[in-house]
């Protein structure tokens, strides 16, 4: 055994730091900003021109569903890099942002509790101010974005902020509150929702929140002192929400601001004067069905839709509202989809109104841009169609407009489209400038799929029957490619292990590299898109939009549940993946749909949908999915449980049916049952019905205490186990407890968090620990592999002397029996055996340096390399922690000779926060939700893919790259030595021959 220890020593002594030369070669990082929030008009993407710069250097600002305020780069650049982004805390929802001059002001948190000011160009945080406590009794949680508003007055950097639905503050650029005004009405029903400013007066417009009350309140405040000047109320005949009321203002001092609303088909408006004495007036003309805020309220423009949905542009004029334009043919029609109306500004602040729609006839998107001030004030409209790829990006859900190079009769519109699949596209006229797949920030499931070998090294399927002539001719054709093979070999020899970088193989065919570092990451998001990513670069190899099936008419959402690789290259042919998803139609019906794709190309394996159309799935279960599993063994069939616990198998081939029938008597599954808040785990087995589908029946149920909620169920990865035990220094063995039915469960209850290890076959609790929690918030993450459970939590309890609060990592190892050499053969025991509970848990706790958002272990092909822990911490780093330090048998005293043989090091409560072990270099890898690890062809190496807001990929070698020559290995010296020796042999061979001959003569 000694040689093994020596082997181990060489492994451990390898320094495991990421070298700077490897950055960008072994790893990649795609910072994303998230899908723009287009549902609210307070947060959608908007363009911002920079004063004193060319008009093409505008910025695109947006707040996103990932709680990020972001600014993408200048439009003139063809790439789509992010200029800056600011990531808000998860509880601090961004509800409003507005740009003014060269700053961006945001309100975030409940009711807009926090105000932040950013530099528009650099994203530098200038000011952060808490305006009220981040909870609100005044607003309900579903009113996110309601009751908060920002306004500015020209020539000043002061911010007028309405927060919490009732407080207005004037805040200076330095953060000082100049004045604050709070509504006298403390009742919850009145919520102030809009601010209109003139240089002298701030008008605060509010609506009653309930659906029964119909009153519009307007208050006017002095901008300089904040004193209430006047207050009035306007009765409405219909209930109105905040989006039904517009407040128009204009830069022109002659135009008086007006509040506009729609009542019984008539647009009513009231002028805002400081004493609020004006009466409301109506706009003459046809009846309207809707008024649309196009983001130009402070420029005095909006769009109203007539009875047949024709869009009309209305403008604030002296004493009245004026219809200035009607978009022709914009009415309801079968030839085009509903129009999107949007306003935009150019650099000089002139407004433009755009209409974007999808034409069913030409299958293209069209845009009409109306410029009211051009053509000598007559107005100019410019229209064009553009090739929006609706099969790849879904439908357009939002448009932002910017115009540049305005001439008297021409203009160059830029459109920033946000699509239903989360893509953001910039169009310059009908030319697409860039596309950002922000849908990648919402990935739900991911799997890595190995690539097939390159053709020239692929083995032929040897046919026994081919004749001699055929064989000769085949070998001759192979020989033609010999030089390629030789070239490849030399290249590989010269290049070394890092050769498989994205630079070299980016445009190569989709084949695996020498060490299997290149794989396809098949992944899907909840916006109805499935992607194939290159694991060496993160580039999108293919992407498909998931079809809605029958729900396409009424709309719906496809939410991925699980992803299975049902065919690998080892099975021959192209690898295939099955995405199990639930489709929620807009009418509330839920179906289970399966999408079966070729993992290399994204093609529909079933051949139902062509490559350039949306991917149509198989409606397997008309109802929600309970769980989906994959059968072990060669068949790799997917089995699904519907809400009646009936079993479905996919693909529905006779072979799979037979495999299921054969295995079904032995299957155990764990389901979460019960109502929310009192869920239990219930073990199930299957009864093989003679008629109909097999059904699951309950065999055991957990008895979690009342109020204990299951946070997560963590199964063990099904990788191979290289060693069945751990050999101690005296050469006895601790046999690993490898019961294949184990599952780890984390729970939360009001005052404790729990970690359980449960035997899924019979429900016995193998290991349990409960941790003090604060108000039911469990910051608990666990990972479980082989017999090793590791969990990280926040330690709240500190009643005793010597205890502290802090983050802990606990490492638990489960061994068979009670002492070394006890063997129960746990991995092949029947679950009915009494010996399954003969288990010893050895545990040790460490102080962990960071809060984490995800934890996992590395995985390698044969499981021989050590398994390090990989975490995503809240500092935006991906960090690994070596197994050596997490051995729960670390000694309290100086290790003895025997313990040293086991590589035990003395216990140290603090886990070192080793900067060498940060895998993510100096990237800020934000908000990682999950880390996926997969084996490469090399036993030493494990591929890592982290997803969340950002995407990050790298590879790690937990035991060092023991199976690859090191980068510093002197190959030239080796070659020269061999060549030198060969030359020496050649030179001395005739000499030796001569000498021997002479010896025979002169004996």
């Amino acid at each position: 055994m000694r040689w093994l220890h020596f082997f181990g020593l060489t492994l451990c002594s390898t320094v495991l730091a990421l070298y700077e030369s490897d950055v960008g070669v072994v790893d990649w990082h795609h910072p994303l900003v998230g899908v723009p929030l287009t549902s609210s008009l307070n947060t959608p993407p908007t363009f911002h021109s920079i004063p004193g710069r060319p008009p093409t250097e505008a910025l695109l600002l947006t707040a996103t569903s990932s709680n990020v305020l972001a600014c993408t780069a200048h439009l003139s650049l063809s790439d789509s890099g992010t200029a800056w982004r600011f990531i808000f805390a998860p509880t601090d929802h961004i509800i409003h942002y507005q740009q003014h001059r060269d700053i961006v002001v945001s309100l975030s948190g409940p009711g807009g509790s926090t105000l932040r000011t950013f530099d528009c160009l650099t994203g530098q945080l200038i000011l952060e101010k808490r305006l009220h406590a981040p909870h609100t009794d005044h607003l309900e949680s579903d009113d996110v974005g309601l009751g908060a508003a920002i306004a500015f007055i020209p020539e000043s950097d002061d911010v007028f902020a309405l927060t919490n639905g009732r407080t207005v503050r004037r805040i200076g650029a330095d953060g000082a509150v100049r004045w604050a005004w709070e509504s006298a009405d403390k009742s919850a029903s009145v919520v102030y929702a809009k601010l209109v400013t003139t240089p002298s007066t701030v008008y605060v417009i509010s609506l009653t929140k309930s659906s029964t009350s119909k009153t519009l309140y307007i208050s006017s405040l002095s901008t300089s002192t904040g004193e209430l000047v006047a207050s009035t109320s306007v009765p409405l005949s219909v209930a109105a929400g905040p989006s039904d009321v517009l407040a128009l203002s204009s830069d022109a001092a002659t135009l008086i601001p007006r509040v506009v609303w729609l009542e019984a088909g008539t647009i009513l408006s009231v002028a805002l004067v400081p004493d609020l004495t004006e009466k409301h007036t109506s706009v003459m003309g046809s009846a309207y069905t809707r008024i649309v805020d196009i983001g130009l309220q402070n420029k005095g423009h909006f769009v109203a839709l007539t009875m047949n949905d024709t869009g009309r542009v209305l403008k604030l004029d002296v004493d009245k509202l004026k219809v200035i334009w009607e978009f022709t043919d914009s009415g309801k029609s079968g030839r085009h989809a509903d129009s999107l109306y949007i306003g935009g500004l150019d650099r000089d602040g002139f407004p433009y109104i755009g209409r974007v729609f999808w034409s069913f006839v030409v299958r293209k998107a069209s845009a009409h841009v109306y410029a009211p001030h051009l053509a000598a004030g007559q107005g100019l409209v410019s229209g064009f169609t553009f090739n929006f790829d609706t099969e790849a990006h879904g439908i357009i859900s939002h448009v932002a407009l910017h115009t540049a190079y305005v001439k008297e009769v021409d203009l160059l519109p830029y459109l920033a489209l946000t699509t239903s699949t989360g893509a953001v596209q910039l169009w310059q006229g009908d030319i697409v400038q860039w596309t950002r797949e922000e849908g990648l920030s919402r990935l739900q499931v991911a799997e890595m799929v190995e690539l097939p070998e390159q053709k020239i090294t692929a083995a032929h399927t040897v046919d026994e029957r081919d004749t001699f002539v055929e064989r000769i001719s085949r070998q001759l054709t192979d020989a033609k490619e010999l030089h390629l093979y030789m070239l490849n070999f030399v290249k590989r020899f010269v290049a070394g292990p890092n050769a498989s970088t994205q630079k070299e193989i980016a445009f190569d065919s989709l084949t695996r590299d020498a060490f299997g570092f290149r794989q396809v990451i098949v992944t899907a998001n909840d916006l109805g898109k499935v992607y194939g990513l290159d694991s060496t670069s993160g580039a999108i190899l293919w992407n498909r939009v998931l079809g809605l099936g029958w729900a396409a008419q009424i709309g719906g959402q496809v939410i991925p549940s699980k992803l299975f690789v049902v065919r690998t290259i080892a099975d021959g042919g192209s690898p295939e993946a099955v995405l199990v998803a639930q489709r929620r139609a807009s009418n509330g019906l839920v179906d289970t749909v399966l999408f079966h794709v070729n993992a290399l190309t994204g093609e529909d394996v079933l051949g139902k949908s062509p490559a350039d159309e949306v991917l149509q799935g198989v409606d397997l279960i008309s109802g929600p999915l309970l769980e989906a599993y994959q059968l072990p063994g060669n068949h790799k069939a997917v089995i699904l449980l519907d809400e009646f616990r009936q079993v479905y198998v996919y693909p529905e081939t006779p072979a799979n049916e037979r495999a299921l029938a054969k295995a079904i008597g032995k299957l155990n599954v764990v389901l979460r049952t019960g109502l929310p808040g009192q869920r239990q785990l219930t073990g199930h087995q299957f009864s093989n019905a003679d008629v109909g589908r097999p059904t699951a029946f309950a065999t055991w149920a957990s008895s979690l205490p009342a109020g204990e909620e299951i946070l997560s169920v963590i199964p063990r990865p099904s990788g191979p186990v290289a060693s069945l035990g751990k050999v101690l220094g005296n050469r006895t063995t601790l046999y690993k407890y490898l019961n294949p039915h184990l599952v780890a469960v984390t729970t939360a209850s009001p005052d404790t968090c729990g970690v359980y290890v449960i035997d899924a076959a019979k429900g016995s609790i193998v290991y349990h620990v409960s941790i003090a929690a604060k108000q039911g918030r469990c910051d608990l993450h666990a990972t479980f592999v082989e017999n090793w459970l590791a969990y990280v939590y926040w330690e709240e309890e500190y009643q005793w002397v010597g205890q502290t609060k802090g983050r802990r990592l606990v490492s638990v190892e489960l061994y068979e029996g009670s002492k070394p050499d006890d063997k129960t053969r746990s991995s092949e025991l029947s679950s009915h055996s009494n010996k399954t509970l003969a288990v010893t848990a050895i545990e040790q706790s460490y102080i962990f340096p960071h809060a984490i958002t995800s934890i996992t272990t590395t995985s390698t092909k044969y499981g021989i390399s050590t398994k390090d822990i990989i975490v995503a911490n809240e500092n935006g780093q991906i960090q690994s922690f070596p197994r050596l330090f997490l051995n729960p048998r670390r000694t309290k005293d100086k290790p003895t000779a025997e313990e040293q043989e086991e590589w035990l090091v003395q216990y140290d409560p603090v886990l070192p926060d080793d900067a060498h072990r940060v895998l993510s270099h100096n990237y800020h890898v934000a908000n990682i939700r999950h880390i996926l690890t997969a084996p490469a062809l090399l036993e030493s190496t494990s591929l890592v893919f982290a997803y969340g807001l950002d995407l990050f990929g790298t590879r790690v070698a937990p035991s060092g790259t023991f199976d690859v020559l090191s980068e510093t290995f002197n190959k030239a010296q080796l070659v020269f030595t061999i060549c030198g020796l060969a030359a020496a042999i050649m030179a001395t061979r005739p000499m030796v021959r001569r000498k021997r001959l002479r010896e025979r003569w002169y004996q």
């Binding site: 059968l631 032995k666 155990n668 069945l724 294949p740 076959a761 092949e828």
Partner: protein, 178 residues
């Protein structure tokens, strides 16, 4: 190679027909004839002492491995517990030499076999059985020393840990899906 031309006539030095026979023998020189008169008994005695000597030598040889044990133990001690070329050499010697010795035992004891060297039984196993048994025991002692050293170096597969790599586990009778 040619024969020498002259030969020495040692016969003329005989005692019977020479005038020099009358000469008294040198002091301390016993009468040959007298000696010849006791020849029967004295030959038997000489042969007996030779056999005793052989037996003694055989015993010496039989326990000779034990005599070198202290020396070997000292060498083992000096070579240390690490797995190095020196210690491995000594251990290999300790492990191999008993087998070599035992396999060559009959040949090694052949010179000490009773009876004339030409006797066919000299190389048989049954000659000198006690000595051979002792020799065997001593070699086992040497082997034991070598094995003890191996064990102390951790080279003997005595623990369960040494056989762990060969252990296998079958599949579980039940399957859990997650």
């Amino acid at each position: 190679m040619s024969l020498p031309a002259t030969t020495l006539d040692y016969v003329s030095l005989g005692t019977s027909n020479s005038k020099r026979s009358k000469l008294p023998p040198p002091p301390g020189f016993s009468e040959l004839a007298k000696a010849q008169s006791h020849s029967k008994s004295s030959t038997a005695a000489a042969l007996g002492s030779l056999e005793a000597l052989k037996v003694k030598r055989a015993w010496d040889f039989a326990i000779s491995p034990v005599k070198s044990l202290p020396m070997q133990a000292f060498m083992l001690y000096m070579s240390g517990g690490g797995v190095q070329i020196f210690s491995m050499g000594i251990v290999a010697m300790l492990l191999l030499s008993p087998f070599k010795n035992v396999s060559a035992m009959n040949t090694a004891f052949a010179p000490f076999a009773p009876g004339p060297p030409s006797s066919p039984s000299t190389k048989s196993l049954t000659t000198l059985p006690l000595q051979k048994l002792a020799y065997l025991g001593c070699n086992i002692l040497t082997l034991a020393l070598g094995l003890w050293k191996c064990r102390s170096m951790g080279l003997l597969p005595t623990g369960t840990g040494d056989w762990l790599a060969f252990e296998t586990r079958g599949p579980s009778p039940e399957i859990s899906l997650f």
